[in-house]
Symmetry: C2
Subunit: 199 residues, 2 copies
Amino acid sequence: MARVREFDPEQAIEGATQVFWRNGFADTSLEDIVSETGVSRYGLYGTFGNKKELLVAALRHYEQSMSDMLWGDLRKPDAGKQEILEFWHSIRRHAEDEGFCNGCLIVNVAAEVAPHEPEIAAEVQRIDDDHAAVFAAAIRNGQKSGEISLKIDADGAGRMLVALSHGLALMVRAGVKPTELGGAIEAGLSILGSPDSSG
Amino acid sequence: MARVREFDPEQAIEGATQVFWRNGFADTSLEDIVSETGVSRYGLYGTFGNKKELLVAALRHYEQSMSDMLWGDLRKPDAGKQEILEFWHSIRRHAEDEGFCNGCLIVNVAAEVAPHEPEIAAEVQRIDDDHAAVFAAAIRNGQKSGEISLKIDADGAGRMLVALSHGLALMVRAGVKPTELGGAIEAGLSILGSPDSSG
DNA sequence: CCAAAAACAGAATGATAATTCTGTTATAAC
DNA sequence: GTTATAACAGAATTATCATTCTGTTTTTGG
């Protein structure tokens, strides 16, 4: 027996995600989100609580959409070296497109907000741990099947790949052309064994 | 025929550097810097211009002091694999100390400020390019002397090490314990050849 | 000592922005 | 249709902060 909500919360989160990704947290005002989404302050506060909680929602939304777009094959239980290489090819393709010039929202938030907000730090660490574990599992599969050297430590290498992706994302956000970073990716992947030099 | 300045600009920059490192740019008010340094607003504006220029000064000061502390041996013209490994040992030692829980000022600034400020972005890129070149030169030396495989691309690997350091610094700032990152460093260094497993 | 120059301390300004409040409007149960 | 409910639009509130301004003090050359 009351008025009905005029906006779709999912679309609002999507809009907020774009603004946070583009501008960062501190440089995004709620007014910016109102403009982007068309949702009123009232609607945003009523539905999401406050700016920080909206960021958490955006972070989760971003993770989900990236998971669908980039991490799907790598999460399969039998993913191995091939899937790791394909993941990075995919990253390179996307980075050379528009849209990824803002780097990675998770990385941006880790740098800007996590140090002051334990809740956000926990969220970021959860995501990173998950990604490192996904890489590590694929590396172990590759080691079982003989594609990847048994000499490397799967957990260490998994974390290394996550850290490398963060560093590269940061460089892109800070203005480095993604095309200049191909060599760094090749170098990082070379720990898996003889490099795939096709692209 | 005028009053003399009561503060030492170098000390003021050192103080500002500490505050920017600890709190980031947006979350540092000029009042914070006044408190930290004891220098008045007037002195800061008169000597450094404004907050952004003060950040540039802090960044240069930080780079200089880190260069002295960490990069000295690696910059020697004949530095090779040994110096690269020692650099990373040194990083690990420092990271496990207090004081480096704030990550790396250059990385923090790259993430928070560079995207909005071309002048800062240029500064950050200059530093990164320099560091990548230092690594690359040492890798080339190692390749000449046979310590490092000729199969790796020195420039790509140099950039990779810089990106990795950025990613790791970010994780530390976001709250990850430095001791958890040793495996990632080992993995990254394994591209140079058979790993130094001593520590 | 006197006066000009430049540093000092801290108040004033102006802008931005997170959050709350107020009055208005649409909805649905009765 | 009436009415309670909850959403809406946007004004009001409160706070923070970068920067500038004002009046004061110190220094040094005459």
